[in-house]
Amino acid sequence: MTKPKITFDGQTFEFEPGDTIMRAAERAHIDQGIPRFCYHPGLPIAGTCRMCTVEVEKAPKLMTACSTPAADGMVVHTQSDKVRKSRAGVMEFLLVNHPLDCPVCDQAGECSLQNYNYEYGPGTSRFRDDKRIWSEATTKRLSDKLTLNMNRCVHCERCVRFTEDISKSNELLMENRGWKKELVSVADQKSFDEYQGNIADICPVGAITFNDFRFKKRVWFLKARKTLCDGCSKGCSIFADEEKHVVYRYRARRNDQVNGHWICDEGRVSYKTYMNPERVIQPLLKTGAEGVACSWQTVLSWSLAEARKAKRVLLLLGTDATSEEAATLMQILPSYWQAETQIRLWNGTGEGVQRSSDDAGLDKLLRRRDKTPNTKGLEMLGLKPFDPAQDQGFDLAIYYRSGRATLPAAPCASVEIGWGVFDRSEAQRFAAVWPGQGVLEKAGSYTNCDGLTQSFDAAVASHGGCAPVKKVLDALKVLSTSASASHEEVALGSV
């Protein structure tokens, strides 16, 4: 059976039956030529902004691309004079009451109104009367995480539809009618759900901004890096927006297999685990009560000596390690010393999750109990959870984790070495800390709660002395094979 066809600006494309014109344009990857405010591929159709109108041959009026079903043989013009005039009209209407405060608006640079104004806008305003002003809502706390500036709103109601149909908290609604229509929150400035950050993401203008990012960075300085959120076992696709290897925010990246268009607020601010000023980024060796920064050479030599003294060594892998890291460590690390090495996994998040079978959804959308990204992946490598009651009698414990898994409450051995991402207070218990990489700084793959394995690339470079697993293993190898290894051979010292 042949698929139905639609023609956009002289080019013919196939589409699936049931598609709207906009959906067909998305399939053809030409949807960016159709401007929109109220349309969002993850939300129900509203058809109210009237910005996405296109000219359909044989139709008496302009049609909205978002709501008009595509039909076989339809001929659509997305850039005809009539269409551009209509869009210019909508832009003029939307700008009538818009404050035009782009220089102080945090959305500037990623604002649909701004972008479309360059393309369709009138450039000057013919509106001579006073603008509509919401004096109380010029900058208003909408919730604990969001700030509302009603004057900038274009009334697309994406936010309202998001709480109606996606997060299902039904907390946002429009009050009043017509030009006085105002967005209000039923929760009265309190938290209303765990997905509020998406509302700031989908707001096409600067009306709703996310407090955590507000005024932190002008968006045109940021580069969007594709990566995964490691905040829970869902493994949502995200953009990490960075400048000069500092990440300022996470944004949802569309992935229909996992997270659709959304991420949760907890994950959204989880970049702070890695961009944490308290994070240990130099090797530490404990002398007395405090860990003291030292070179990799020193910490590794000391640690290797401890391992050679030990009879039984515990290697505890946090379920936030990538599958590659875990496999490498399991295969290589035990060969560096004579002692028997037991390898276990450790999770401990979400009130004692250890196995993937302990994991469950916290709501119907994305959030999971298991707050580590790779429990399934480590289980697939054959690892078992660490059981403090059974697994005992270790002289040395090496604890590898990259920032998400918890630490066992009681010490697992007389000497404990922490390897990976720790903040200063967590590092207190360790005799030595080997600073490792977080998800942002390394490449690898995670297997999420649904068994889907996803790979990712490094988004930013490592900070300070944080070193990749492979480099540390290489250095250990050099140290373990030649007792009199020279300083130059241990290349890690300069990392």
């Binding site: 405010f37 159709i45 509203a46 058809g47 109210t48 902004c49 009237r50 910005m51 109108t53 009026k61 302009l62 709501s67 005039k85 209509s86 009209g89 909508v90 003029e92 209407f93 939307l94 009538v96 009451n97 013919r126 509106f127 001579r128 009367d129 006073d130 603008k131 509509r132 002003i133 919401w134 004096s135 109380e136 809502a137 009603m150 274009v154 009334h155 429009m174 009043n176 009618r177 017509g178 030009w179 006085k180 229509k181 105002e182």
Partner: protein, 443 residues
Amino acid sequence: MTKKLLTRYNNTPGSHTLAFYQSVNGYQALEKALAMTPDAVIDEVKKSNLRGRGGAGFPTGMKWSFMPKAPVDAEGKPKPKFLVCNADEGEPGTFKDRLLMTQHPHQLVEGMIIAGHAIGATRGYIYIRGEFVHETRRVEAAIEEARAAGFLGAKVMGKEWSFDLCVYRGAGAYICGEETALLNSLEGKRGEPRLKPPFPAQVGAFGMPTCVNNVETFCSVPTIIAGGAEAFASLGTERSGGTRLFCVSGHIEKPGVYELPINITLPELIAHCGGVLGGRKLKAVIPGGASAPMLRADEIEVAMDFDSLAKAGTMAGSGGVIIIDETACIVEVAARLLKFYEHESCGQCSQCREGSHWLARMFDRIERGGGTEDDLNMIAEICSNMAGQTICAFADAVTGPALSTIRKFRSEFEEHVRLGRCPCKHEGHAYPHSQIHHASARL
């Protein structure tokens, strides 16, 4: 004068009671209709050329025939069908449904039962605007009486068909007179028009196939069934049968609701109502409710049926005829009308929300003398960006008074611009309300 069909028993004491209604052959049309097949009833209404009295003038029989015969849901289970009566009567200048509901509620109930039989509905809703408290009570009382008499409920007149009516009060928004906004409001949602398609005949109230008609339309149905379609059709024009209720208001000697032939001419109508108030000179007429473009005094030689008025560039709308005499300032009239539309736009579509606001502000400024020649030239352009571009016809309705006044009475606008004040008012006239642009302030 002409034969009256709907308002024959106006001002008769007790005309709203079942006892009176039955004494004048009430509910006999229902009995006759129930003996007919639903399709036969629809055919009869089609033959009568009855056109919807709410404003659009869509043929009623045709609308009924669009209802699916045996709708099923996704699982193949049969879906109920609903009948909705639009008694929101929000169009400024219209007050006919109010009269029908206060004086002849049983006519409405009987009409709805016949319509319910024709489309196979199981339930009917009467959506009455919130301000109509007295009317609501009358209709509710009529429904009670009809139910007690067996015309409503589990077995309508002993037939194997159950049908009941339910009154729902709106909250007073003009837009809820638009049928899909009405359905949203009926469901408890914001009264905002829906995207079409799907049309209410496919997805209406609560997702079920729904037919929405005006009060006057339903009230005409018993007459059609009782007296025959031909008799009804013969009263009107070729394409529009029956009589029509005209609500005449403004500068007129005898304002009120008049049941007259649908093809009466406008001068005849004005003469029938006693002429222009105080014998003054006519300036303009709004022939079909506030949304209808104005007719100038020299354009009034026109019949009042749907097609003739459409040909004259305006519309018959809901039958609200507003007479404006020479003492009125057209700019002020237009500014007041636009203020109404600014207040009543639901605010979904960009053009309508911002455009109605912009036009209202501009007309107000022109009326106060702050307008410029540029403003006058811009009005047509703003209107062309609004009309026909939105979900419902509200934006078109806004452009009705705006465009017709600036086109037909441009000299008056220019006079305002030239003088810097309203020529109809003395210099230094104090306006009763100051303009507040804060959206959080009350209008």
